[in-house]
């Protein structure tokens, strides 16, 4: 295990988060923006699971292995990630519903063309 591997997963999470933010800020289509938000969120999954990983360990699921026979990774971050995935899916759905209504009421999904709510 070399030093690069010690930080690579964290750096990937940071990179994914910032990339998502970039896409969100420069998006020309609100559906695309919601997709970018989903990308941002996948950074949180990667970070959480990377934090809980343990070298040479396996999942803390004892249906097919004997408890204590092998080292296991951190189950808590997995539960958190699971919750996070649900949250992400629901937020995506809700925001897409709002985008649909914007398409109807404004006749466009380009944020540059939305001319309300200024000043």
């Amino acid at each position: 295990m070399n030093t690069a591997m010690h930080v690579l997963p964290y750096l990937v999470a940071v990179y994914v988060f910032l990339t998502g933010c970039y896409g969100l800020a420069t998006s020309r289509n609100l559906i695309h923006a919601v997709g970018c938000l989903a990308v941002c969120q996948s950074a949180t999954y990667v970070l959480l699971l990377a934090v809980g990983y343990r070298d040479g360990a396996t999942a803390p699921v004892f249906s097919d292995i004997e408890p204590g026979s092998r080292p296991v990774v951190d189950p808590v971050v997995q539960a958190l990630t699971l919750t996070d995935i649900v949250v992400g899916a629901t937020v995506t759905a809700l925001l897409l519903a709002l985008v649909l209504q914007i398409a109807k009421r404004h006749g466009t999904v380009d944020p540059d063309e939305l001319r309300e709510l200024r000043g």
Binding site: L24, A25, A33, T44, T83, R105, R115, L117, R118, G119
Partner: protein, 588 residues
């Protein structure tokens, strides 16, 4: 007693689930009574728990009591500030439900209880966030209240502005929440714990003699970004006017009255339990960061508030200005500051909710919330006009309003040149509201000219099935009660002391400070009121003297309604926050 703490969340959720399950067969009145009963029951429970919260309660949900100091469960805290916020949330929800009693637009066909159910879930989410003692749990309830708030903001799908505001709200707040979650993951990596107190201790022991490092700083910045987005501190604030101006009135009462304040409360709670130790962020750095952001927020909020013509948007900016003041008060980290902000929040919740309620009356009576279009048209709404004026005086901090008491104490705690910020921000926001009162209800002055880059409040759909001919009693009584409550917070003898005792018991390690009106505070409160009245008079009689100067135009252009801009500002805000807190990390 402490076993009942999670019921503050469970009861509203259960009520909502029952309402949705039976929604198809329930007449509207039954659904509203159910919502009322559930919300009221939760409020009663919150009050009972609050009265019992000395010494502070803790509850391990699921009965996972710590063994040898370690637990695997979730901690819920039942101290004064947490239960006080839960009580405020519940009472305000009750008020909002009473306000929307029978008046609100027909619910979707066959889904009678949907609006009430969403309000109940919102209440449950906010209560859950208030009493959370576990950082991830706080994130979950943060998301619950956010998701409900997005849906409620976009409730009127026929309104172009409403759906746009709701989407902006949703994107910016979700991004903030994800930033917060990244911060939580960093903290978990460092300390291996999720309960806030344990994380705090873990940071201290990990730091040893060394003090904080970049990881602590980054997690601090990320977690605070999430909370400050909710609290709408500049430059995270852009979503707030867009969302609060377009949400249905009862929802606005909750959003401006208590949800934004919950963000500031979260900052206080997280800093106090997680980052206050020697391994966290030094107090001087937090003070620098929060006071700077708070002062800028108050200034920007006040200036933007003054130049609005959309009345609900004007009120939303005044919320921005006032949260800036809260953030300053919390940032100085003294028991007096905490007490003052607690009282200020209580008074502000009453006043702001009442003002939004009055704006809702205008919307439903005239189908417009535009100051220019309504000029002189609302003369016959005498009661609403009087309440609008009284609310303005409350915003200015006139003795003996709760806002006045809270502001006086906070000003005294902050001291120095920042007093000017307090007086000016409250005077300008109150002046703007008084100006609206004078123009809309009294018809004073000439009709103002339209500016180029602004949001008009004309052509809005009323929230009732049609324009109201006469105003229902509930829509008058609710703001009156709210204003009376705001007045009571500052004038009932001993109430301030009581609040201070609850706050200090948790916040400052039992150091009790005395809280009461002082001559100095009262004079400053009267001064802001006079200043507000003068500004309003000037605006009405000599509109050109106080018209938007050239330097305000770029500030208004920043509020572009473009979600990409807001995201970029969010990143800048996180960077600024990091830069402001950096010296302590470098020095340590």
């Amino acid at each position: 007693m402490h076993h009942l703490l999670p019921l503050l969340v469970a009861l509203p959720l259960l009520g909502a689930a029952v309402l949705v399950a039976t929604g198809r067969h329930l007449p509207r009145i039954a659904a509203e009574i159910t919502g009322f009963a559930v919300s009221g029951g939760t409020a009663a429970l919150a009050v009972v728990l609050l009265l019992d919260s000395s010494p502070p309660m803790v509850e391990w949900v699921g009965g996972w009591l710590p063994v040898g100091g370690e637990s695997v469960g979730i901690l819920v805290v039942g101290d004064g500030p947490a239960l006080g916020m839960a009580t405020l949330v519940s009472l305000l929800t009750l008020a909002a439900l009473a306000y929307s009693w029978r008046y609100f637009d027909q619910p979707p066909h066959g889904r009678t209880g949907t609006f009430t159910a969403l309000m109940l879930v919102f209440q449950g989410g906010m209560c859950g966030f208030a009493i959370a003692g576990d950082l991830f749990n706080a994130f979950v309830f943060f998301e619950l209240m956010s998701v409900t708030a997005y849906a409620l903001t976009g409730y009127r799908i026929d309104e172009a502005k409403a759906v746009q505001g709701a989407l902006t709200f949703g994107v910016v707040n979700s991004l903030g929440a994800y930033a917060m979650l990244m911060g939580i993951a960093l903290l978990y990596a460092r300390t291996g714990e999720l309960a806030m107190t344990k994380i705090g201790r873990g940071l201290d022991s990990a730091a040893g003699q060394g003090g904080p490092d970049a990881l602590v700083l980054a997690s601090f910045v990320l977690v605070l970004t999430g909370l400050l987005v909710k609290a709408a501190a500049v430059p995270f604030h852009f979503w707030l006017p867009d969302a609060h101006a377009v949400a249905p009135t009862p929802v606005c009462m909750l959003l401006s009255g208590v949800m934004v304040e919950l963000g500031a409360y979260g900052v206080w709670r997280v800093y106090g339990t997680v980052f206050a130790g020697p391994g966290g962020i030094p107090a001087a750095d937090l003070t620098r960061a929060l006071v700077t952001l708070g002062a800028v927020t108050a200034a920007v909020g006040a200036v933007m508030c003054w130049y609005q013509r959309h009345i609900k948007r004007l009120l939303a900016y005044s919320t921005v200005a006032h949260t800036g003041l809260f953030v300053i008060g919390l940032g100085i980290l003294t028991p007096e500051g905490d007490d003052g902000v607690a009282l200020y929040m209580l008074g502000h919740a009453g006043v702001k909710a009442a003002l939004f309620a009055c704006a809702g009356v205008l919307l439903d009576r005239f189908g417009s919330v535009d100051e220019h279009a309504l000029h002189g048209r609302a003369g016959q709404l005498r009661a609403t006009g009087v309440m609008f004026g009284i609310g303005a005086l409350g915003l200015a901090g006139l003795p003996t309003f709760g806002t006045g008491l809270g502001k006086a104490i906070t000003e005294e705690a902050v001291g120095g040149p920042l007093t000017v910020v307090f007086v000016a921000a409250s005077a300008v926001t109150a002046g703007a509201v008084l100006r609206v009162t004078a123009r809309v209800f009294l018809g004073l002055g000439p009709r103002p000219e339209d500016a180029e880059y602004e949001t008009s409040g004309s052509d809005e759909e009323p929230e009732t099935p049609g324009l109201l001919g006469r105003i229902p009693d509930t829509m008058t009584i609710v703001p009156a009660v709210l204003l009376a409550a705001a007045l009571a917070v500052g004038s009932v003898p001993g109430f301030g002391e009581l609040v201070a005792r609850y706050v200090n018991e948790t916040g400052s390690g039992g150091a009790h400070v005395s809280v009461h009106w002082t001559l100095h505070g009262a004079v400053l409160g009267v001064a802001s009121t006079v200043l507000a009245a003068a500004l309003a008079a000037l605006a009405v009689t000599r509109p050109r003297w106080v018209a938007a100067p050239d330097w305000a135009a770029p500030l208004r252009r920043l509020q572009s309604g473009h979600v990409g801009d807001y995201v970029a500002w969010l990143l800048v805000g996180a960077t600024v926050l990091g830069a402001l807190a950096l010296p302590g990390v470098l020095g340590g």
